[in-house]
């Protein structure tokens, strides 16, 4: 097998997702290879469905989603190693009672053991500046801390793209900015769904999802304009 490119692009071709008879997403054609991409839109417009397609949490009813050479319909497991996903509610993502155990959890599934494993966990804790949380019980963490642990548990898998689905809703201004800074410093490609319009002003590309279609695709400023028009109508 040829080595995969460092950061393979994601390509959606003619993607439609149907749920209970209605199209939640319709005829989406997209190539995502920018470094920072934002997705905005009203409640129920289809944002989460769109980003869940990218790591095979949702499979297209019609069309294909490709990450590099792989398609989500066939290679779900390998794609999930490349495309990490941070959920809105970090509590869903936390599995083990201790923070270190929780972060190690995904890496264990990749077959790592012993010092290799602990080194990797320590490295990611250090990188996010949350080494002090290492031995805490995960369920006693505050909202902001939980969100950082959830991010660590994704980054430890060393994905090439990280998708965030509304990661800042529970957070105060300080934690929001901390997370934002963390995302800004990621080497990986980041695709961020958010209602927090301030957060995305520096992004390269913004998609506005409306009623199951990509209604706008371009500069953040223009996208915001478009979004405000929709939400005020």
């Amino acid at each position: 097998m040829p080595p995969e490119p460092a950061n393979p692009g994601i390509r959606l071709t003619g993607v439609t997702v149907t749920r209970e008879g209605t199209d939640v997403l319709r005829d989406v054609d997209l190539t995502l290879d920018e470094h920072r991409i934002a997705v905005i839109g009203l409640n129920g417009s289809g944002k989460s469905t769109l980003v869940r397609l990218l790591n095979a949490l949702v499979l297209p009813t019609r069309g294909t989603v490709r990450v590099g050479e792989l398609t989500t319909a066939q290679d779900a497991k390998r794609i999930r190693r490349q495309v990490g996903f941070v959920f809105q509610n970090p509590e869903n993502q936390i599995v083990m009672p201790l923070v270190a155990e929780d972060i190690a959890f995904g890496v264990k599934n990749l077959g790592l053991r012993g010092t290799e494993l602990t080194d990797r966990v320590d490295a990611v804790l250090d990188r996010l500046g949350i080494t002090h949380l290492r031995d805490r019980e995960s369920y006693t963490l505050s909202g902001g801390e939980k969100q950082m642990v959830a991010l660590a548990s994704v980054l430890v898998m060393e994905p090439s793209t990280v998708v965030f689905d509304e990661p800042t809703t529970m957070l105060d201004r300080r934690n929001r900015r901390r997370l934002q800074r963390t995302i800004d410093h990621l080497d990986q490609r980041a695709i961020v769904v958010t209602h927090d319009l301030e957060m995305i002003s520096a992004y390269e590309r913004t998609l506005v999802v409306h009623e199951g279609r990509i209604a706008f695709d371009g500069e953040p400023a223009a996208a915001l304009d478009f979004y405000c028009r929709i939400s005020d109508s």
Binding site: K77, R80, F105
Partner: protein, 209 residues
């Protein structure tokens, strides 16, 4: 939740009477181990179910499992004992279940709950309280879909982390989240003036004037 509203003549009979009948029928059916009597009961039971005017397709779906079960019982008994005993057992089981379905299908869920509340009223002497019981009953219905969607969200999060089908890893966060929301829900209920101990029964607080 119960599908359509119950119709037919049996719907007019009070729920208490129907349950009383069911109780008596269950005794009589065991008291008479003769094939002709059992056939007569069976015909009566079929009539009762038909009187509920349930659409036949829905009825079919409901009763398919029952027929399967009775089939197994009948086959096993024919092989291990007499043909007659097998017939009596199978018919008895069928009639009893059909009567029970007739009661269920002809009684509205709310009527059923009201009956249980009446029946449970004496338990207040044991320290239970019927308002609390009916709150628990309604809340259960409300939270089944909630637990389901929480389960789906958690499982999805774990798929995303490369974990497939580990029951412990799904159940632990599911329960912790459920317990945490239980706390918030009970605050919300208290905030809406719910009184779990009705004044009459509340231990009198130390009156400090």
């Amino acid at each position: 939740m119960n599908g359509s509203r119950p119709g037919g003549p049996l719907a007019a009979v009070p729920a208490g009477c129907k349950f009383g009948f069911l109780f008596v029928a269950s005794i009589v059916l065991y008291a008479v181990p003769h094939v002709p009597a059992q056939v007569a009961f069976f015909v009566l039971a079929v009539t009762a179910v038909l009187l509920t005017r349930t659409p036949l397709r829905r009825l079919g779906r409901l009763l398919l499992g029952l027929f399967l079960v009775v089939g197994i019982v009948f086959a096993t008994l024919v092989l291990t004992s007499t043909w007659e005993a097998a017939a009596v057992s199978a018919l008895r089981l069928l009639s009893l279940c059909l009567f029970a379905y007739a009661v269920t299908l002809s009684t509205a869920f709310s009527e059923m709950l009201a009956l249980f509340e009446t029946l449970l009223r004496p338990t207040r002497h044991l320290g239970l309280n019927s308002a609390q019981i009916s709150l628990a009953l309604s809340m259960t219905i409300r939270f089944i879909p909630e637990i389901r969607s929480q389960y789906l969200a958690i499982r999805e999060a774990q798929f995303a982390r490369g974990l497939h089908n580990s029951p412990v890893a799904v159940l632990v966060p599911l329960l912790v989240r459920t317990l945490e929301s239980a706390q918030e829900i009970s605050s919300a209920i208290d905030a809406r003036c719910y009184d779990s101990a009705p004044p009459a029964r509340r231990p009198t607080p130390p009156v400090s004037d």
